[in-house]
Symmetry: C2
Subunit: 154 residues, 2 copies
DNA sequence: TTGCTTGCAAATGATTTGCACTGCT
DNA sequence: AGCAGTGCAAATCATTTGCAAGCAA
């Protein structure tokens, strides 16, 4: 099945990247990758621990640091108390975030390829004019999520 | 002079917004606004304190919180240790950020009005499809700043 | 006087780290 | 055996908060 292959592929890629850096793909790390790939958007550490209750908090932090170092995980910081973690874009595809100003939830969204292209070329121009070497961009769209809108309506 | 009027205008606007919320525009707050308007990009708390040495750290944090509450200051969080603070966009104009991955410095940049419009309309479409109410967006362009590029060249 | 501001010192809380132990290889 | 990974408890450090004193209305 396509689904199973996708999951197998993901773990395979992660395994390879870790090996390439002389790191092991341990059960803990597998659990983290599983949890991250299972959710629609970025996840905070407490949420992650709910989905992998056998993991110690410190191990989760340590493994996330390793996975980030190797380019498997990306760490996001919004205003909220906790940082968010997600799989790197080259594993999941380029996307952006809807960030709820009230509850802090984060949801993935994508823009059209056409718009991304205009954006990239504008960024290239402007960055080069400043002597800046752009590597990637992120767009955060702040506002109210549907849940919070429903709540404020009563 | 235009410069003086601009500065006077800024303080006047800040004063008005504070009064509207029953807050005072104290000397400390004035110093903070001065420091923020003096620099080209967002500033961390330690940097801010260098420019206003008479301010106590806790007062700086407290006043920044008030100023943020009233919509005069925006607080940014990137990966770095410290948060960044800048004047709100309706005081300075809409802009985005070049964020250096090595040294953490942040520089302001603007995109063309045309591109901003395409972006806004794409965001509106996509957000509405999710029942999300967008308020504003931010674009962070990550990469290497000119200083760090020069350093790595030797 | 009454209440907002301030500075100092102490508290908070997410994240990091030291250390001893377990388990690959 | 030898070293990477783990859990626990303790440390770190930006930011927040309690409190007593200063200052404006």
């Amino acid at each position: 099945m396509a689904t199973m292959n996708a999951a197998a592929d993901l773990h395979h890629q992660v395994d390879e990247r870790l090996r390439a850096r002389d790191q092991r793909y341990t059960e803990s790390r597998r659990q983290i990758v599983e949890a991250l790939s299972a959710t629609a958007g970025p996840v905070t550490l407490p949420t992650l621990l709910e989905q992998a209750p056998s993991l110690a908090q410190s191990s989760a932090y340590r493994n996330l640091a390793v996975l980030e170092e190797v380019g498997i995980v990306r760490r996001l910081v919004h205003g909220a108390d906790h940082a968010f973690y997600e799989l790197a874009e080259d594993l999941t595809g380029h996307h952006h975030h809807l960030v709820c100003e009230r509850c802090g939830s984060v949801q993935d969204v994508t823009l059209s390829a056409r718009l991304e292209q205009s954006l990239d070329s504008a960024i290239d121009d402007l960055a080069k004019a400043q002597g800046f070497a752009p590597r990637h961009h992120t767009i955060d769209i702040h506002g109210l999520c549907s849940v919070c809108i429903a709540e404020s309506t009563h």
